[in-house]
């Protein structure tokens, strides 16, 4: 990344609006009165349809970056734009809406509601968008079909294998048609073979549906499947390789 676009300049011709854009983003935590910097000035731009891996040792700030890109947190400095909107100017509620419409999350530990069917789990983001129940079921069924789980609609997470659970989570991330899927160690709790299947699925969705995928991982062979790798160390981008 050589010359980031100036803060409020609209995207120029020939270059699409970024899905996610961070300009000199700083995030410091205050712990018992001491300022602890987690990100010390990160500039990164992720375009629609990209497939990016974020790598770094634990404590490097990659989780903080993920939280910021996912609108779960706000930067203490710098500019962060999600779907073209400056998060610093958004209220808590607007931020929640932005998360709901632009971001899909996939977590290492799946984070499915245990006593809820696969279909209801997948439909959950639509609940917060005010989509009617019938429409939610229809779209959740479609999303589950896309990840190959159309025969598991009414199963509960406990009745599914780890790989299936992660596929339910991916369906949930996709059901709201987000611009970006943020996947935090999506293969971390899976064996190698199942991990590969999940990666295949993410690649396929990226290719077929054009959804940008940002993958946090510390497994080099997982990261190797992404077209671009961003290495983070000590709260700064060390390398950004395409």
């Amino acid at each position: 990344m050589t010359s980031p676009a100036p803060a409020d300049t609209p995207p120029g011709p020939g270059r699409p609006a970024a899905a996610l854009e961070a300009v000199d983003v700083v995030r410091t935590y205050r712990m018992e009165g001491v300022e602890v910097p987690a990100l010390r000035g990160v500039t990164v731009r992720i375009d629609p349809g990209e497939f990016v891996a974020v790598l770094g040792p634990s404590g490097s700030g990659k989780s903080t970056l993920m939280h910021l890109l996912g609108c779960l947190d706000r930067p203490t400095g710098g500019l962060l734009r999600i779907g073209g909107r400056d998060v610093a100017k958004l209220s808590e509620t607007e931020l929640a809406d932005l998360r709901n419409t632009h971001i899909g999350f996939v977590f290492q530990s799946f984070h499915l509601l245990a006593r809820t069917s696969a279909r209801e789990n997948v439909a959950l983001p639509l609940v917060y968008r005010g989509v009617s129940r019938g429409e939610r079921r229809r779209r959740a069924t479609d999303a589950l079909t896309t990840v190959g789980l159309e025969h598991r609609l009414e199963h509960r997470p406990g009745q599914l294998s780890g790989g299936e659970q992660q596929r339910v989570a991916i369906a949930r991330a996709l059901v709201g048609d987000p611009g970006v899927v943020l996947a935090d160690e999506p293969t971390g709790n899976l064996d190698t073979r199942t991990g590969h299947e999940v990666m295949n699925l993410l690649e396929r969705l990226n290719a077929e549906q054009g959804v940008a995928v940002v993958l946090v991982t510390h497994e080099p062979d997982v990261a190797g499947r992404a077209r671009r790798q961003i290495h983070i160390r000590d709260g700064l981008i060390e390398r950004d390789v395409s």
């Binding site: 947190d73 808590e92 509620t93 929640a96 984070h111 509601l113 959950l124 917060y128 968008r129 709201g176």
Partner: protein, 395 residues
């Protein structure tokens, strides 16, 4: 998020923790049931008093020694039978002045015996209080003048001593064995203040004084010709008696005032009982608050996830608030059913009158919903404000 969705989620959460939800609700159930039952008993007692105000003549003034208050021991009466004549000159109609001297005694006829309230009365009782007779006659002026040993029986006493036989003309003995001739039997009267008037027997006051070895009467009752006369009569009677018995105090009070005083006391009592019951509802509410805090803590990860998926602060707040309100209103409804059931059972099986008013279940329901909101707000706000980053990381 729609409210219907919040209800569905909340119901599911309650269903998952069935035992915990039931135990939490129990506090509210007991509180609400207690309020409903105690208010029912209180209103029942008031209804009784009010129906008696209507049932009794309101133009009767009771004259008794001392102050008419609750909680003071009764003053020994210095009223005399002659006071009827004396007050008759004040009121202008001694025929409307009744006296009573009461004592509980055993009455016998043959092998049958029972306990009775023996009332020494004069012939004016029949003028002042409307006490219709089923058989025979009431006491006469001559009976009183000549201390006849004649008696008028309450319907209960007549039945207990004589069964179906007509008692008029027969003999009964009162107290230590003094024999009386039955001259009349009252119609059935029913209860006043929970005491049956049908267990009274009336004898001439003069005979009663000799029987009990006293020369007083306990109280006088005066019927005013119209209700407008009552305040004037009350004052004149008390003044006259205080002139005759210097240094003594007397009170003249109407039945309406008497019942009004009782009504006030009952009202205050109901209030106190309801307040005590409300405290248990409050404790139930604290239980709800406590469990909701536990629930929020347990479901921190779920809250984090929901927020990550786009739930707003108010969505999460609504979800937990609905859960708390659902807990208390379900508990409240169960409490109302229990309370109404208990009230009905109590009034059916015991002499305690319990009347469930329409407003007390409604009020109890509204209050239990209010308790849910009040005690749910703190946990629900805590849930709504959780930082999703922190919440997602929680194990």
């Amino acid at each position: 998020m729609r409210l219907g969705e919040s209800f569905r989620v909340a119901l599911e959460a309650l269903r998952v923790n069935r035992l915990r939800s039931a135990l939490t609700m129990f506090g509210v159930v007991v509180g609400v049931a207690a309020v409903v039952v105690l208010v029912a008993i209180g209103s029942g007692a008031r209804n009784l008093v009010e129906s008696e105000i209507e049932g009794l003549g309101s133009n009767i003034i009771f004259v008794a020694p001392g102050e008419f208050t609750f909680g003071t021991p009764p003053t020994i009466s210095r009223l005399q039978l002659e006071d009827v004549d004396y007050l008759g000159r004040v009121t202008g109609d001694e025929g409307q002045i009744a006296v009573a001297l009461n004592s509980g005694e055993t009455v016998r006829a043959g092998r049958n015996q029972t306990f009775s309230s023996v009332v020494g009365a004069n012939e004016n009782v029949q003028n002042v209080f409307d006490r219709p007779l089923r058989r025979g006659r009431y006491l006469s002026h001559t009976d009183v003048e000549t201390r006849r040993r004649v008696v008028v029986l309450g319907s209960d006493i007549a039945r207990r001593l004589f069964g179906d036989v007509d008692p008029v003309g027969r003999q009964i003995s009162i107290a230590t064995g003094t024999r009386f001739r039955v001259v009349g039997v009252f119609e059935e009267q029913g209860q006043t203040f929970g005491q049956t008037r049908d267990a009274e027997v009336h004898v001439p006051v003069t005979t009663a004084q000799r029987l009990f070895g006293v020369d007083r009467v306990d109280f006088l009752a005066i019927r005013a010709s119209s209700s407008e006369d009552i305040p004037r009569l009350q004052k004149e009677v008390v003044d006259a008696l205080q002139r005759k018995y210097p240094g003594e105090r007397f009170s003249a009070i109407t039945q309406t005032q008497l019942l009004g005083t009782i009504g006030t006391v009952l009202g205050a009592l109901t209030g106190v009982l309801a307040a005590i019951a409300a405290i248990s509802l409050l404790v139930g509410g604290v239980g709800v608050s406590n469990i909701m805090l536990v629930s929020v803590r347990e479901r921190t990860r779920e809250i984090g996830l929901r927020k990550a998926l786009g739930a707003k602060q108010r969505d999460i707040l609504a979800q937990f608030l609905v859960e708390a309100v659902l807990l208390t209103t379900l508990g409240g409804t169960a409490g109302i059913l229990l309370g109404v059931g208990l009230s009905v059972t109590i009034s059916a099986l015991s002499p305690v009158p319990a009347a469930v008013t329409w407003w007390s279940p409604v009020l109890a329901f509204v209050v239990s919903a209010g308790v849910g909101i009040f005690f749910g707000v703190v946990p629900a706000r805590r849930a709504g404000r959780l930082d999703p980053v922190v919440a997602l990381r929680t194990e």
